[in-house]
Symmetry: C2
Subunit: 456 residues, 2 copies
C-alpha cells in the first residue's frame, strides 16, 4: 500500500516535472528578491501568488505598515485539520557575484544539480511544496487536509513585520500543524528533520570617550572607549564560557532524555566535518563529539559579531578614539525571553558600572522555539520520511540557527517541523547556491506522501 | 648687562628678520617633507643644509641603510664645550586639506601668526635656532660654544633609523648639552621647558579563529578571535588601572621630591583646559588637579589604539570572524626598557594561555628618557628663559608624549632640555598649524641669549 501510493505519486511527479517544478523554479529564481535591498519583493510576491493559484489556492497578497508583501493562501478541502506551510521568497544578496559559476538569478542545471540564488533558501522549497500539493491532489482526487500558506519577503532581514502581520491576519494562518521553510539531506543520504530553532537578540554597543580622537599619550588619565568595551565584554563570560549576567539561565529548559537520545543518534561524522571545514582543532572548553552537538543545539551564548574603533590601518597610529562600537548576538534557547534577557543585559551593565556604554537592540529579534520530539506530528513527518527516503531520518531537536519559528510555534501553538530539499553542500547565502535534483524529487514526494498519509 | 645684551640681540634680530627668519621659514614650509609618504625629504635635507651653511656651519647630508637623509652640522668655535641642536625637518601629512584656511605648504601670515605645516613642528624651530646662532655670533663676534646639528627626516615616523645613524656617526654629534626639538609658551605667557619624554612600545595583536568567517550560531562551540582579544586585553589592567604584567613596574623610577614640587608649580588651569577641550568630566580613577598631571607625566600605561574585527556596518550581521586585530601603545617611563617590557608582555600572554594571539612590535619604538631638574644645564636654560620672557618658566620634568630623546640622552649621556616657539594653540599635526610671531621672536632671543650666557 505504502509503496503503491509512492509509485503513483512518483509517476505523477514525472509528468508535471517540467511544467510545474522546473519552470516555476526558473521563474522564481529569475526575480532578484533581495530583501536587504528591498528589491523585487512585489514582483516576487505576485509570482508566488500566481503559482499558488495555479495549484488551486486562493492567494492574497497583504501588507502591514512598512512591510514587504506577504502571500497568504488557503485551500479548503473541507477537512477537519489544517496544515500551514511557512516559506519565504526573499533571498540573501548575491555578492560576491564573481564567485558564481553561472548567473545567480538564472536557474542553471549541471551535473544533476540546480544552481541559482534561493534554490535552497527558500525558493526550491516553495516550488517543492506547491508541487507536492498538486501531485497529492492529482493522485488522491481530494486532499485530506486543508492547507494554508504563509510566505514572507523579509525572512532574510529578520522577519521584522511578522508580529504585526499576525496581529492582523492570525485567523488566516491558523492551523493544526506547520511544515517549516526548509531542510536538508545529510552526507549519508538520511533526511534531516528539525523541531526547534534558537532565538536571537542582536545588540549594538556604543562606548563614548573624549569628544574627539585624542593623542594616545593621554591614555593614562583619559577613559578610552575601547578599554571600556573590552572590560565590559570580558565580564560577560567566565573561563568556562558561562554567561555571567544574573538570571541569564533562569528560563533555560535543559534537554530531555529524548533530546539527548536524539542527539546521540546524530552521526558523529558531522563533528569531524565541522573541525575540517571550519579549521578549528579544539572547540571551546575542549568539548567534542556528541557533547559538542548537544552544546551547539541546547546552550545559549553571546557572540561578538564585530568590534570597531580607533586605528586599523597599516603600522601604528597613536590615537585614543572618541567612540568604539561592538555588535553582539545573543543566542537564546527555550524558554528564554527576548525582552527579559535584554533587561537583564542592561541591568548587568549598570551593576558593573558601564552606563557610559550605550546598549541598543538592533531590529530582527527572534525568540527561541521548539516542538517536543514526542509530538504526533513530529512522529508522522519522521515516519513518512523514512518511507520516502528509505533511510531513517536524523532528528535534530533544535538547530543552532535562528528564524521566525517562534511566531508560529508560540503564538499559533502548533507543532512545527522543518524538512526539505537542501543538502550539506547547498551553500545557502553563498555563491553557487544549489540543490540536487534527486533531493528535490524526494522532498516533493515526502511532502506529498505526508499529505496523503493523513487520509490513511 | 643682561638687558643690554638682550637689546643688542633684539636689534640684530630686527635687522635679519626678513632675510634670515621669514624667508628661510617660507622656503622650508614650501617643501612638503611628509615622511609618512617619503616625500620631499632629499629636497628638505638640502634646504636645511643650505640654511646651516649660510649661518657658518659645515653641514653634511648623510644616510644609513634605508634611511631618509640626515643633516649633520658642526660649527667649531674652539670652545671647550659643545651644544647639540636636535630637530627634524619632516612633517605630518597635511590631511584633511579642506580644513586649512590657507595652503598648508605656503607660509601665510595673518593676525600676528604664521601658518603652514611644520611651523610649530618642527621647521619654525630649525629656523629659530639657526637665527639664534646667527645673531649671537653677530653680536658676540665669536661663539662661546661649539655647536652641532642633528636634524632628521624621520621623526614623525618614529625615528626609525636613529639608532643606526648613531652607530656610524656618534662622534659627529657628541656634545655636552642638547636643546631638544621644540617647546611652547603657555596660556599665561610663561615658557614651558621639558626635561623628559615617555617611551613608546607599539604592538599589533592578531587573534585567529576559524579558517574563514563562520555563521555566528556556532559561537557556542567555536573560539571567536574577538572574544580571545577581549579576554586577553581585559587581563592587562585591573580596575585601579594598574598593569597586571608581572614585573611591569620593576624599573619605574618614581618622581623625586623635586619632580613633585615642579609638578605643583604647573598652573592648574591646564587641567581645566584638558577637561574642556577633551570633553572628559572625570579622569581615570577620579584623579584630578596636580595628581592628574603627576600621573600623566610619571605613570606608564597601555593604551588601545584600535580594535578591528568582524562586522562593523549598519544593522547586524551574524558572523563569527576568522581574525581580529588590536593595536596597542605602551607608554614607558624611566628606566623601563623596551625589550624587557616586550618580553614581559609576551610572557604574560603565554602565562594566561593566549598563545593563539600573535604579538608583534611595530616599527618606531622609542625608549623613555629624562634629565634631572637639578642638572646645571636645566637650570641655565630656565634662568635665561626667565630673563628673556620676563616670566618664570614652567618646568615639566617629563611630558606625556614620546620621541627619540632617549637616543641622545641615554646614548650620548648629555642633559637634554626642550624649549621653543610653539604655543598652546599651535595645532601641531592638525590643520591650520601656526605659531605666533611674538613667540618666534622670543624663542630666537632665548636661544641666542642662552648661547651668549655661556661666555659670561
Amino acid at each position: 500500500m505504502d509503496q503503491d501510493l509512492l509509485r503513483e505519486l512518483e509517476k505523477r511527479l514525472d509528468e508535471i516535472w517540467e511544467d510545474h517544478v522546473l519552470r516555476p523554479l526558473e521563474t522564481l529564481v529569475s526575480i532578484p528578491t533581495v530583501s536587504a535591498r528591498s528589491q523585487g519583493l512585489v514582483e516576487g510576491a505576485q509570482a508566488v501568488a500566481d503559482l499558488a493559484r495555479a495549484v488551486g489556492f486562493q492567494p492574497r497578497i497583504v501588507e502591514v505598515e512598512g512591510s514587504a508583501p506577504f502571500v497568504l493562501g488557503a485551500m479548503d478541502a473541507g477537512a477537519s485539520q489544517t496544515l500551514l506551510l511557512y516559506n519565504h521568497f526573499d533571498v540573501q544578496p548575491e555578492d560576491p557575484v564573481d564567485l558564481w559559476d553561472s548567473p545567480p538569478f538564472s536557474l542553471t542545471q549541471r551535473e544533476g544539480k540546480l544552481y541559482g540564488r534561493g534554490v535552497a533558501d527558500d525558493k526550491g522549497h516553495i516550488v517543492a511544496r506547491l508541487a507536492a500539493v498538486r501531485i497529492a491532489q492529482d493522485v488522491l482526487g481530494k486532499l485530506p487536509l486543508n492547507i494554508r500558506l504563509l510566505m514572507e519577503g523579509e525572512e532574510e532581514v529578520g522577519s521584522i513585520h511578522m508580529a504585526q502581520l499576525l496581529d492582523t491576519y492570525e485567523e488566516d494562518v491558523r492551523a493544526d500543524f506547520c511544515l517549516w521553510e526548509s531542510g536538508s539531506v545529510g552526507p549519508d543520504g538520511r533526511p534531516e528533520l528539525y523541531m526547534g530553532m534558537k532565538g536571537i537578540l542582536t545588540l549594538e554597543l556604543v562606548a563614548r570617550g573624549p569628544q574627539r580622537d585624542l593623542h594616545s599619550s593621554v591614555g593614562v588619565i583619559v577613559p578610552n572607549p575601547l578599554w571600556r568595551l573590552v572590560q565590559f565584554l570580558a565580564a560577560l563570560k567566565d573561563e568556562q564560557e558561562k554567561i555571567q549576567i544574573p538570571g541569564f539561565y533562569d528560563a533555560v529548559v535543559p534537554p530531555t532524555e529524548a533530546d539527548r537520545s536524539a542527539v546521540q543518534g546524530i552521526p558523529l561524522e558531522i563533528v569531524q566535518t565541522w573541525h575540517q571545514e571550519w579549521g578549528v582543532a579544539t572547540f571551546l572548553t575542549g568539548v567534542d563529539g556528541h557533547a559538542a552537538i548537544l552544546r551547539l543545539l541546547f546552550e545559549p551564548t553571546i557572540n561578538i559579531n564585530g568590534i570597531h574603533g580607533g586605528y586599523g590601518g597599516p603600522g601604528s597610529k597613536t590615537v585614543l578614539p572618541a567612540t568604539a562600537t561592538a555588535k553582539l548576538d545573543i543566542r537564546l534557547v527555550p524558554n528564554q525571553d527576548l525582552k527579559d534577557i535584554f533587561r537583564k543585559f542592561v541591568a548587568f551593565r549598570d551593576q558593573l558600572g558601564f552606563r557610559d556604554i550605550e546598549v541598543r537592540a538592533v531590529s530582527g529579534q527572534e525568540g527561541p522555539a521548539r516542538t517536543p520530539l514526542d509530538d504526533p506530528f513530529v512522529q508522522l513527518v519522521a515516519q513518512t520520511a523514512g518511507v520516502v527516503y528509505q533511510k531513517p531520518p536524523i532528528l535534530y531537536p533544535m538547530v543552532a540557527g535562528s528564524g521566525p519559528m517562534a511566531y508560529v510555534r508560540n503564538r499559533l501553538k502548533v507543532p512545527v517541523v522543518g524538512c526539505g530539499v537542501g543538502y550539506h553542500g547547498s551553500r545557502a547565502h553563498a555563491p553557487n547556491e544549489n540543490i540536487r535534483i534527486q533531493d528535490l524529487r524526494l522532498g516533493i514526494l515526502h511532502v506529498a506522501y505526508l499529505l496523503a498519509t493523513f487520509s490513511s
